[in-house]
């Protein structure tokens, strides 16, 4: 259910963008952690400075990172790459060379799907290791457990998002349509989540949280080790698994206009 030959080419075509986003995220995390570190340093030097202030600052910065940068940068990578992996190649017609080879449909779709999901896991593995290295080196007051859970959660969140983009890429024969759905839905989720923060202004805004997957990645719940986290993670995982499986099944049966 996998093609090495296809994977090699997919890797070659996409590693640069992956590297760019992964390095960008890592650098941003480092900068934020350095800021948190110097903030904690100043707090402890202050006479009568509270013990918890450093940890509070670090958590704020982590929330900032995981709700903004770690949300948006990979989102761009995901929607563009998911479209490139299948729909764009069907649209261009270049997939005909691969499809004329003795490959199962599933081999093609699963190889591409494994690349997409694997690249997200790899991306945050790098980010996590960079973060852990910084924490280890500086003794920044961040709970390792919470930090790991934040990363696990964001991976599950992006797997769910990439599942939607991947499904769109498997279903549509035109890049334009694949992008409309595969990028449109994740962007809508992001905006709906922003709007739901304005529930204090109008009650109706609060309902937007039900229209967004982003709500299921709740950094406050994670940092508080809330039990909500468990079902939130499970739903994200189910969405991811469901979308990837649906993409593979649809691609197996569809007509390819190559």
């Amino acid at each position: 259910m996998f093609s090495n030959t296809l994977f090699k080419k997919t890797l070659k075509d996409n590693y640069k963008f992956w590297l760019f986003v992964t390095l960008g995220l890592s650098v941003m995390l480092l900068i934020l952690m350095m800021a948190a570190n110097s903030f904690a340093g100043r707090m402890s030097e202050r006479p009568g400075g509270s013990e918890g202030a450093g940890a509070f600052g670090a958590n704020m910065i982590l929330e900032q990172f995981y709700t903004m940068f770690a949300m948006l940068l990979p989102l761009i990578y995901i929607v563009i790459t998911a479209n490139k992996l299948i729909a764009a190649q069907v649209d261009r017609g270049s997939l005909s060379f691969v499809m004329a080879k003795p490959l199962k449909r599933n081999q093609v779709s699963m190889t591409q799907g494994l690349f997409l999901s694997g690249s997200i896991v790899a991306m945050f593995s790098v980010v996590t290791l960079v973060g852990l290295a910084f924490i280890g080196a500086t003794g920044l007051d961040i709970e390792i457990g919470a930090f790991l859970l934040l990363n696990l959660g964001i991976v599950l969140f992006h797997l769910a998002i990439s599942g939607i983009s991947y499904l769109a890429s498997c279903v549509f024969n035109l890049s334009s349509k694949s992008l409309l759905i595969g990028a449109g839905i994740p962007v809508f989720f992001f905006i709906a989540n922003l709007l739901s923060n304005f529930s204090s202004l109008a009650e109706i805004m609060g309902y937007f949280k039900y229209a967004s997957l982003n709500t299921l990645y709740n950094t406050a719940d994670i940092l508080a080790y809330s039990g909500n986290m468990i079902w939130q993670f499970l739903i994200l995982f189910a969405v991811a698994a469901g979308c990837y499986a649906a993409g593979v099944m649809y691609f197996k049966r569809k007509d390819l206009p190559l």
């Binding site: 030959t5 017609g93 270049s94 060379f97 499809m99 003795p102 449909r105 081999q107 049966r253």
Partner: protein, 305 residues
């Protein structure tokens, strides 16, 4: 058993587009010509042979195995040139050849190297994106032939090649044919089909309108002669004879006579009694045959598309 078999294949895209009840068989080592204008359904048929499309009705088979759902088996021995060549991006020519051959488990690239020579494709090391139409076509040909497949599915393989290169390609096809390959050649170029194919089917608006052996075109059992008379009124006189006239033109004092080879002597004897300006043979070409089906017959589908 037929190597390629298309049986009652129907794929209706709506609006009269698609293929309707298309059937043909290609035996081992046979070269089969698939002739038809743009949009007639050649590529649609080929899509089913490669397993890209699911038939509405009917089936396509490779060596007895239904293609749909089994393309990983049926594509094993196939080399394919798409009608419209769009290569995967970011590859150099030689890397593309290697990469595609790898899918077929071919490590030996001698054939590809030989073809680079024959087709005079220079700087195959260059980026595919910067190649001209002709170069891309040559590269497409090499990619299809490189793993030395037993079956070749060629969708307008020589489009974009200059006439000299088209001849070179025809020679290449003859060589593959001599090597026992089974070839489906979809083409507009009559000379290419005339020189290589044993059997031809003409497809029009999604339906096969006629199928014939190339020998019947090249060496028909009858011939058609144009006879122009020197003496006025002779056309009236000959019109009284028991002959198969294709045309009698009194104004030009000229007739066209169809005659079986065995009756040629009788015709010559008869003509010796007339004063003749000239006699010439009208050769039947594939093109004439094709045009006959394209111009004479009104369409079944009311000319959609």
């Amino acid at each position: 058993m037929a190597v390629i078999q298309v049986q009652n294949l129907t794929k209706d895209y709506g609006g009269g587009r698609g293929v309707f009840d298309v059937s043909f068989e290609i035996g081992a080592g046979e070269v089969f010509g698939f002739l038809g204008p743009n949009g007639a359904g050649k590529t649609t048929t080929i899509r089913h042979i490669l397993g890209f499309s699911k038939p509405d009705k009917g089936k396509a088979y490779i060596s007895g195995t239904p293609v749909w759902g089994n393309a990983h088996l049926t594509n094993r021995d196939i080399g394919y040139i798409p009608g419209e060549i769009n290569f995967p991006e970011k590859l150099k020519g030689m890397d593309l050849i290697k990469w595609l051959a790898e899918f077929s488990g071919a490590k030996n690239l001698d054939k590809a190297k030989e073809l680079l020579e024959i087709l005079q494709l220079k700087n195959a090391e260059g980026d595919v994106k910067r190649m001209s139409k002709g170069m891309k076509q040559k590269l497409g040909i090499i990619c299809a032939f490189a793993h030395d497949p037993k079956i070749l599915i060629l969708d307008e393989p020589s489009s974009g090649l200059d006439p000299l290169m088209q001849d070179t390609f025809t020679e290449l096809l003859k060589r593959e044919k001599a090597a026992g390959k089974t070839i489906l050649l979809s083409s507009h170029i009559f000379s290419e089909i005339e020189k290589t194919c044993e059997r031809v089917s003409i497809i029009k608006q999604g339906e096969i309108v006629t199928s014939f052996h190339m020998d019947d075109i090249k060496r028909p059992r009858y011939k058609t002669f144009k006879v122009k008379f020197a003496k006025p009124g002779e056309s009236f006189r000959i019109a009284g004879e028991k002959l198969a006239f294709e045309e009698v033109n009194h104004a030009k004092n000229r007739v066209k006579i169809k005659v079986f080879d065995k009756d040629i002597r009788a015709l010559l004897n008869l003509l010796s009694g007339y004063e003749i300006e000239y006699v010439s043979e009208i050769k039947l070409t594939l093109e004439d045959h094709f045009m006959k089906f394209y111009s004479d017959k009104p369409s079944h589908n009311g000319g959609a598309a």
